[in-house]
Point group: C2
Chain length 410, copies 2
């Protein structure tokens, strides 16, 4: 019999609804992997009349916080946003030794250190992967993977809304047009002021500075300038200098202490930050290793944020997957690719087209590079290339073969 873990969810908008859907859809695989079942006992909503993405037990939907806090719950998930009632729910949950999982950066930036002390005092647990970076697992990486690695500095694009707007403006849209599109696509809220003036990014960099340096996020005083009031001139200035404007958040350890900053920065188009477009987030962590650690991923959207919440919800119940294992069907890889094949004069060049044709390989281009013939093929599965290469080798050729991915897929 699997252990049942009761979950209460505060907030059932885009993120909360997606989390319910993930819990429902993965019930069997979660049970198989972790030996647990999640039972959603209570969902706090603003309006009980709206339709929900999944069916809930009658009586599970509540509209007042007291009823919500009265429900049985091993884990309380908060996806409401804002400081209250999220803060009251957090305190009540942690004070009774339960687990509190949140996507709420404002709450953690203001009350994170206090809530963490409360969690430690009551042997409870506070998790907030979804609060920073959307689908980028930056909280886990700083909190665990790098917990005892000295961090020199962190730089990042942490606000998907402003990055979406800036990159749409680079493509010729006006600020108003870009903001309208962001709203239509669910990337900007009705009031995007906290995104555009840098407060959202400042909250997030304060949380990362807390994780990296142990400094209470409320005492992190970031120098902060957003992309307002004049994003059109800022992007035009960046373009005139051959660069791209990004809203950069950073913190660093200096001899005086920890500094933090959010401001518009102009990067080269081909730099890591210049190439970070749309709602993508990117974080770069300098540990003094020569190469920094980079993390990137979708910074907004219900799917990534709900996945981050789910990982935190399952935390503790987790063990490594240990399934019997479907054998790998590597022989059946029929994905077609373009290929580069060059070969020396062991095989006469005029025989190559016929050898290719017999293997089912269509040539796109062939070029004589002095002592070598260099071929590019049309899209074809490895199986056929393998056959062609074997034939070339059996005739004394020594072909060099590489797959071609000259589209900017990744």
């Amino acid at each position: 019999v699997p252990r049942t873990i009761s979950v209460a969810l505060a907030g059932c908008g885009v993120v909360g609804g997606e989390l319910l859907r993930l819990l429902r859809e993965n019930t069997n695989s979660i049970e198989a992997k972790h030996g647990v079942r999640f039972d959603v006992t209570s969902v706090l909503v603003r309006c009980s009349e709206r339709t929900r993405p999944v069916e809930l037990a009658p009586g599970a939907i509540v509209t007042d916080v007291d009823s919500f806090l009265g429900a049985e719950a091993d884990v309380v998930v908060e996806a409401l946003g804002g400081i209250e009632p999220a803060g009251s729910i957090a305190r009540a949950t942690l004070a009774r030794g339960a687990r509190f999982v949140t996507a709420n950066k404002a709450l953690i930036a203001v009350h994170g250190a206090e809530l963490q002390r409360l969690a430690l005092r009551h042997a409870a647990r506070l998790d907030f992967e979804a609060a920073v970076g959307g689908g980028v697992p930056i909280v886990r990486v700083l909190r665990e993977s790098l917990a005892d690695t000295p961090v020199r500095g962190i730089r990042g694009i942490l606000n998907g809304t402003s990055n979406f707007i800036l990159t749409r403006m680079e493509m010729g849209l006006s600020f108003d047009g870009a903001l309208r599109e962001a709203r239509e696509r669910g990337f900007a809220e009705a009031d995007p002021a906290r995104d555009l003036d840098g407060r959202d990014a400042a909250d997030k960099i304060a949380i990362l500075a807390w994780l990296a340096y142990g400094i209470d996020p409320t005492v992190v005083r970031a120098r902060r300038r957003g992309i307002l009031p004049d994003p059109e001139h800022l992007t035009a200035d960046a373009g005139a200098l051959g660069g791209r404007l990004r809203l950069l958040a950073e913190c660093a350890q200096t001899s005086d202490g920890v500094t933090a900053c959010v401001e518009p920065v102009i990067f080269l188009p081909n730099s890591e930050f210049g190439r970070t477009v749309g709602v993508q987030n990117r974080v770069v962590i300098d540990c003094g290793w020569g190469e920094p650690i980079g993390l990137s991923g979708p910074g907004a959207g219900g799917g990534p944020t709900a996945s981050a919440l789910l990982a935190d919800v399952i935390r503790g119940a987790r063990q490594l997957p240990d399934r019997a294992g479907t054998p790998v069907a590597s022989a059946s890889d029929e994905t077609p690719h373009r290929w580069s094949i060059s070969l020396d004069q062991g095989v006469p060049a005029n025989l190559v087209p016929a050898i290719a044709a017999r293997a089912g390989v269509v040539l796109e281009a062939a070029r004589d590079r002095g002592s070598r013939l260099h071929i590019v093929t049309r899209r074809v599965a490895w199986r056929r290339i393998d056959l062609m290469v074997r034939t070339l080798k059996s005739r004394g050729g020594r072909p060099g073969v590489a797959r071609l991915e000259l589209e900017d897929s990744c």
Copy 2:
């Protein structure tokens, strides 16, 4: 009194030695943060006569596996490499319910699933962050952050040695010259065959496929081709097509099962993989979210690998840092930057140089862009720009200010 956790270390080369140094150097901060002290009870070495980076208790250094296994240890760390005696040490450790931490990809690729079953049976724990990706926390991310997120596919540059050699050859070195340099800089072992023929990358992608899909890594049959036998023609072919050669490892879920592949692939120079140079590793995880998750960082070197081992060693003893908090010295940010300042005609252009000079700002360039004056400054701290901007505003100007980072720093 802090809890004492005893550690036994098998292997004291570059990685093992660096781990000893990190444990010694961070004794106080680890105790403050986690309430534990690590006591190194035994170090297994090949030759007891060599000098070690840190002093060890007399009798702690042993040269035979039986003495090593006889030592008390809550955690056994393995940094020997190879299948034996690493496998025997792993089995003995897990069978008595202790924790086994390893950087050994060959061991995990061959015996990982078996060792994980052993760990579950004896309530022991197996961790291997350092086995894949060096300083890139890919194991943790797949094993925990994305444990219940369906993964469509994973692509990565996972072998730092071959990537270093390929990117040095792009800069004009011969293969032999690049390999010599890799050896001199500690990026290639005496026998680099497993790196160059793709076996090292195949081991790593099999481990990642295990974590993503639950398939025993021994049944993952990757189609494998390395950069041998003819890396010089392969890189020349890539260059002739305007691309860059990389050794790509990938696995994906298809309708038939899971496929895996290691082979040379030609990418555009400006693509994420084309821009991955030196011993850097890069992993891209497609979760079907539109934007993939990207992770990058140093793929080789004692520092990153030992840090990954240390994070696994401390695991379990960990809680969030909760220090009193040094106040952030954000006011004292004196880092000099170049700045872009554009302004309308509220302030006459001929007054701007004097206003800049009084604020201590040296202008590098000024350009009249029709209705706007656009200035680029020399390197100067924000404090001075802030003063200049305040003066411009007090005189009716509306300057737009962005920091300039047009060097390819990141």
